[in-house]
């Protein structure tokens, strides 16, 4: 962490332009693209929260899809069985996701490194199994269908792709700001310290376990929120939202974008979401394309696109 940071002068105007694009462009874009951006924003929230664990805390948490799915199922069940409004589905999705991550976090935190990876992944598989078999609650393989868009009592109907997009954008911006504040806070700095040298932080008197535990629960809460939005977006929730493919896809988003940078995780979410949907339009063999993306990312871009950019910038600035 002692390396000289590349200049950041372009960052604020860059983010401003990006925000303007996100606000102004969707009404003139084809509906299909707007829908894809909506989906990307939802996955960006999940990827960014996962990045708190992978990139900032150095915890290889692979079961993040579990908490995403728990949030999505909570919303789906509340809406279809109790006609709950957005405010309560949002609250309960966050509470259930954070609660379940608080309940299971004890297990992976007993181990570290690759054991941590495998235990979190196994937990997610158990959630998938539960969604798959607990038919009376989750609808089993058929999932839960027919989740209507939320009625906010506003003059704009959320069935319209653009209005719904703005709703998601608002949540995306709130989450981004919160996560940004989190990583800038003393708590976030401590997480980075733990990532870089756990022993040093322990010697300095920090409670490592508690920090990791809280990071795990907070990330779970954000995943639950995104899950709630996803249930409304997709109007369908099924066991596949918690399967191994999603777990790994979230990891791919974080790594491809660049772990340890919120922006990178968001970028990764956009790239993967668009890639998956675009490629499947052109070829039936889109899984092969995804396979190649996985392998290329692992072989050539371990620090993701942000890492490549940084390397490029450093080379241009000279040694």
């Amino acid at each position: 962490m002692t390396e000289r940071r590349p200049s950041r002068g372009w960052m604020l105007p860059g983010l401003g332009i990006l925000l303007a694009v996100l606000i102004l462009l969707p009404p003139i874009l084809p509906t299909y693209v707007t829908i894809l951006i909506t989906q990307s924003l939802i996955f960006a929230i999940v990827a960014m929260s996962l990045d708190i664990l992978i990139g900032y805390t150095g915890l290889g948490a692979l079961g993040h899809a579990a908490f995403f799915a728990i949030g999505a199922y909570t919303t789906a069940i509340l809406v279809t069985k109790h006609q709950a409004p957005l405010s309560s589905t949002l609250l309960w999705s966050i509470v259930s996701a954070a609660g379940s991550s608080a309940a299971v976090a004890f297990l992976p935190l007993r181990a570290s490194g690759i054991y941590f990876l495998m235990i979190t992944l196994a937990i997610s598989m158990c959630v998938w199994g539960l969604a798959y078999r607990w038919v009376s609650l989750t609808g089993g393989d058929n999932g839960i269908t027919g989740i209507p868009r939320p009625d906010l009592g506003l003059p704009w109907a959320m069935n319209d792709a653009v209005y719904f997009y703005y709703l998601i954008l608002v949540f995306f911006l709130i989450c981004t700001v919160l996560l940004f504040l989190l990583i800038r806070s003393p708590f976030g700095k401590t997480l980075v310290g733990i990532r870089d040298s756990e022993t040093r932080m322990k010697v300095l008197g920090y409670n490592i376990w508690l920090h990791k535990y809280l990071a795990f629960v907070i990330a779970g809460a954000f995943a639950g929120l995104a899950g709630c939005l996803y249930a409304y977006y997709n109007s369908f929730v099924g066991p596949n939202d918690a399967n191994l493919g999603i777990c790994m896809e979230l990891l791919l988003m974080v790594i491809l974008g660049g772990p340890g940078t919120l922006f990178g995780a968001g970028l990764g979410a956009f790239i993967i979401t668009f890639l998956k949907n675009m490629v499947s339009v052109y070829t039936e063999r889109w899984l092969m394309v995804m396979a190649v993306v996985y392998i290329l990312t692992a072989l050539y871009a371990p620090d993701g696109i942000m890492g490549l950019l940084k390397k490029f910038q450093k080379r241009r600035q000279g040694p």
Binding site: I54, G60, L62, F106, L107, R110, A111, G113, I114, Y115, L117, M118, I119, L121, A122, I123, M125, C126, W128, G129, L130, Y132, R133, W134, V135, S136, N243, L244, G245, M248, L251, L252, I255, R285, L287, M288, M290, A291, V292, V293, Y294, I295, T297, A298, L299, P302
Partner: protein
Amino acid sequence: MEFWVNQAFNGISYAALLFLLGGGFTLIFGVMKIVNIAHGSFYLMGGYVGYTVVLLTGNFYLAFLVACCVIGGLGMGMERLFLRGLSGQDLRQMLITMGIALFLQDLSLVIWGGNPLNLAIPSYLSQSIQWGNFYFPVLRIFMIGAAAALFVVLWWFQEKTKVGAMVRAAVDNAEMSEGLGINVPLVTLGVFGLGALLAGFGGVVGCAFMGIYPGLDFELLPYAFVVVIIGGMGSLPGALVGSLVVGLIDNFGKALFPELSYFTLFAPMAVVLAVRPTGLFGKG
């Protein structure tokens, strides 16, 4: 009584299958410290290759031989081409194995289509042996016998032979072993091939036992995970005990609480992790 005996027997035969899957997984994990997501794909591909061999030649045992060779070779190729040089980088390795798993998944879909396939078994294996009031299908006895025999051979190999000692040395400390003149890359290659081979063997058995279909690779993976988390990663006896625990619990769980079937895996995993984070037979 009948229920308990039948379910226990089913559980043990399922455990035999799980041991073939989890045993290879744990061997690979032990030497390479890698979570091989493509392991379920090895199983699936083994089943498909075995199915094709039986379809073409009608020889059940040739299917095992060919599947073991093909999948073992596939595993070694994968280790040599993609995984070497990435040791210690967990996340990158997982991305690669995931990429390979997706590739194999799609490839098998192209070659064998999406329908569930069942392997035709010789007639003497499809009978049942009657013992008192109970019937035991011969195929399941064959499965249990094959898994038990493989366990004994592997255990003997690992504990009693010189090559096995080299493998154990590589597991404990790769750097030191290399310093002592052990060819660790070769050991790694061999062990990865052996692990893949076991999964391929399991795939043929599984194809005869319960059929194979696309998606089975990822469905079975959680079982392999839980088997090695319970047994202790890298331990062969651990994989055996883990398979028995998971096989029995899963079978009774499915019979008694069908809705919670996968979740019943969670309980033993949680208990073991709470008591011994490295698993029952794992080293600290």
